[in-house]
Symmetry: D2
Subunit: 330 residues, 4 copies
């Protein structure tokens, strides 16, 4: 979906280079030829087909940018430039978290041909914004489910490290954990509300209520850094200074490092190594940087949700309440 | 519901004065005699009957405090000590907001007799906590509906005063208004989620999901002062320094006060007087103080919702997620 | 200082009514005649003289509004329209807090004559902004001292009510109290920094560093509502539902109200009545509304401090740091 | 300074393993022998000597842990286990930020001999806490200077990326930048206040005021994650999805990647690559994880500053203010 967008103050038709939003450069009897690039395409190298839609509202003279289609991932003229992020490799302390990474990509369309039967929109500029927002609505709704799962991990790791340190029942720790619960559940509740208030479209599928998809995604987006902060605060400095696994496996050091990582008597050194190493890999790593950025921007940044929320909000109705209570007649 | 509670560190049975939680002092063949007081009884003077329930969990030796009943509001031995809060009176600029006040009361039960047919609980200490929490759950759920309506008023007044001042479209004003929308809608969404996830009880009625009733009420409770802050910030200092209506009605001053309150050319002085006077009465008055305290504590303070939320939360399940990802076997 | 300002989107010279900023309407050999009004003049009725300065920067064609002078408080043509705020009156439970109120006023200048020897600025538009900012700098610096004193009261009341309730040592209470300490001391520290970095002016007096006067005042302004929230949260609902002193003095009720306000055994009922009544009068009253608004807007609203802070800030220097670290040559 | 500390609920003398706080295991005529480990020793591998002090207050029977000394970094029995963090390597787009890394270490003392002339404390348990706090006070004061420099980088990068994107003057961007200014300057102001209120010790040196060293360090510590959030929010998702330098240097891709990174017409593609690559390396990397943890915990976590602040605070004095205003006599 996301075009590279060039100068943020200029519309698609106002850019120096018209390709900064993906567009139709040729139409013929068999199909269309498109040019441009899509950014932030997570998992781009894994897909069978690219499904392309516009990224924003368009105006009457921007029909060339109103284009949607599906095309095989390896069609002629497509380049997928990936940036992969992998968790730190493990030697002996294998862990599920360290098994899978993620890939984002820029997908470049260099005069790619698409046959008509795979073209879904071509020139209908008046529907571009609606298509973009429909996708955004579903995407943000899905975040109301998946983001609380990230909070679950943060909450679980925070609770576990507090337990291992012997402070799991401390009042201020319980308070921090409860804040994480509330964050997760408010996002999830907003997702439930979006589903409960969904509307049936003419195609028969239901569309989640846009307002609540956005309030939930917004709440998640503005709190993700705070959630990592809670984990870091409770975990202490060790996730950033923990000796490497290589050192831990070094026979000259193993017993020392086991001795000095000890916490509560009934928690083994290996468990402590595993937990701190996990927290380090999860919250003090390149992969964490990726997750923080994705937590803010994935599915639309908080500022986009704010725009979405207020664009459809009945402010005039609220002003009327104030006027009525104040005895102001219009 | 709310007992006066005495020393907050002591249980009902540990208080110097056993009446600090309402209790049964006598049982006979016809009924029971109760003694104690209930605090914060909003609208107490208006009711036909007092419906009394315990305020907390009790232990085996606290059966005397496990009492629930209904009794006519003017039964022998009842004293209702009310504190009324009224909006500022108006002379000429009548306004619906200034029409109705509110009353809270301490209801004192000084050896009040209740016949058996109106006694619902007497000694069943093991159900006291459940009864208290059931009430709390419904009450907090209702707050998920009524508190957003308070935010509606704050949002409407903020938007209207910004419009009258000519800054209604300013970016930072729009941002403040959007935050109010999000607060209101997250609370409401949590209420919808509580309803969507309600469970049917054996009596046939539905109980809203306790978790989401609490997250919504919590969100409202921790933000109410902030919401008044937003209104005050946008309204400016005038709600606190606005000349009185008496002065405005004084022929020597009317034209001066009309002249100098002027803002955007198309908004009449009377509208401005009415709006600023409303904002003053709503947000800079004794009645506002009442509303701020009610916004924090009504239906249970945020700290009570935190306790409610974490008491039933599956923290062990979240720790298990962390252990699994970290490769920790138990 | 503060003009009534009319349409916030229009400059002094662009208002429909030129008097919406106080201005010179006549100059003659003996002096000047001024017209307009000043708003939010706290303690206006108590002064011997009004000392008037412009409220903002002006342009070349706005010399008529560049006027500063002193004039006796009761000079011909001056009307002081006051709004007084008084603490709740007490009958038997006399308390220092309830002794003094406050007055704000609109001071109207209806063609007031000022002799030349009391005119300090007349037409020097290029110094209007500097004069306004100089006043603002001193005023905001003084807030760095006086606002922490308000926090002291809130902190003391919060700590005392927690002690009387028997929860003074609770971890979450200590945490809330510590946050109040930090707020107070950061504001005060910013004031110390402004003094330590003061610059000597050619007149011989020192001017506190504008940046730190503003950061301190800003910190106070954005937190005042939060501070009242902390007090309300810890005090519970009683400040808003406490029976009146009249009821407490009623012989039919005194012993009941004494009995049921009881908390820790060693705190007398009178002390509890006095403390809750004070917290009610201080934080749940019209006078509190005044204090909240003054806490946000007195000396300049937070948004004004933000403008002051960034207007003189070396953003280009910070960009250069980023460019240097990034290896970007310009 | 920092011991490994074992079970956080147990004192040094209560640990299963007495070495979990570094201690004296032997004294003889020539000197002492120590055993234990110090954690989080930043730059440990670079020092000529280790200067060791206790990490906390001790009791009468904990004299063995009251030990302070200096010892050559490579003395017999010392093992330095380092964890190094390096910025991402660069190929062609060399940048100062990517030149230097950082190293933390566990320094293990395995029966290390220290001659008497290099022992500064041995058994004087009553001064252990004072020594630890003195160090903490200086360390936190230094943070009041160095942390604002981190904010300077974040502020500069945020302002620069906003400028390159063409939104540098947008109201909401200016607002975010101003918040960063305020954070940096309040921390710095607290440091100035600590210096201005420093007290001269008998040795002749000055000790910064502990209260303000702590309030400044606290403010920095609770906001570091928020500051990265601001940068991420304004920078957008690109720092996490930017193609690698290898891809950019690949002749098949250079022109595409230059074309599609374009923003404002007057900013070269290389500048954009450099800036986004810097922001990625600075805020979306393993090194960023290190900096976030250091920002929270370096010099003492926020919870430690809270303890420091309230431990010396005159709460009783503030309660007295409340009692006086309320008319409560003791």
């Amino acid at each position: 979906m996301t075009d590279v967008k060039g100068d943020r103050k200029a519309r698609p038709s106002e850019q120096d280079d018209p390709d900064l939003y993906l567009r139709v450069v040729e139409k013929n009897s068999r199909g269309i030829v498109v040019k441009g690039a899509k950014n932030h395409i997570t998992m781009g190298p894994y897909v069978d087909e690219h499904l392309v839609i516009p990224t924003r509202t368009l105006t009457k003279d921007e029909g060339d940018w109103a284009v949607s289609f599906a095309v095989p991932a390896d069609a002629d003229g497509i380049k997928i430039v990936s940036r992969i992020v992998t968790p730190r490799p493990r030697i002996a302390l294998k862990a599920p978290y360290n098994t899978f990474g993620v890939a984002d990509s820029v997908v470049i369309f260099d005069n790619v041909f698409v046959p008509w039967e795979r073209v879904f929109m071509c020139g209908e500029w008046e529907f571009a914004g609606r298509l973009a927002l429909t996708f955004a609505g579903f995407h943000r709704h899905s975040y109301c489910g998946c983001k609380p799962a990230v909070t679950d991990i943060i909450l679980g790791a925070t609770a576990l490290v507090a337990e291992y340190n012997g402070v799991g029942k401390s009042s201020h720790i319980m308070d921090e954990l409860t804040e994480l619960m509330i964050l997760a559940e408010l996002v999830y509740a907003s997702g439930i509300a979006a589903a409960a208030k969904a509307t049936k479209t003419s195609s028969g599928i239901y569309t989640p209520e846009f307002l609540y998809s956005n309030t939930g995604r917004y709440m998640a987006g503005i709190n993700i850094y705070h959630e990592y902060d809670v984990l870091a605060s409770v975990a202490g400095g060790l996730p950033s200074t923990l000796p490497t696994e290589e050192d831990w496996l070094n026979p000259e050091l193993t017993s020392d490092l086991d001795k000095y990582i000890r916490r509560k008597p009934d928690v083994s050194a290996e468990k402590l190594h595993r937990l701190y190493r996990f927290i380090s890999d999860f919250s003090c790593s390149a992969m964490c940087g990726w997750a923080q950025y994705a937590g803010v921007h994935g599915g639309g940044s908080p500022v986009m949700e704010k725009i979405g929320i207020r664009s459809g909000y009945d402010i005039e109705g609220k002003k009327k309440i104030a006027r009525d209570l104040a005895g102001i007649k219009d």
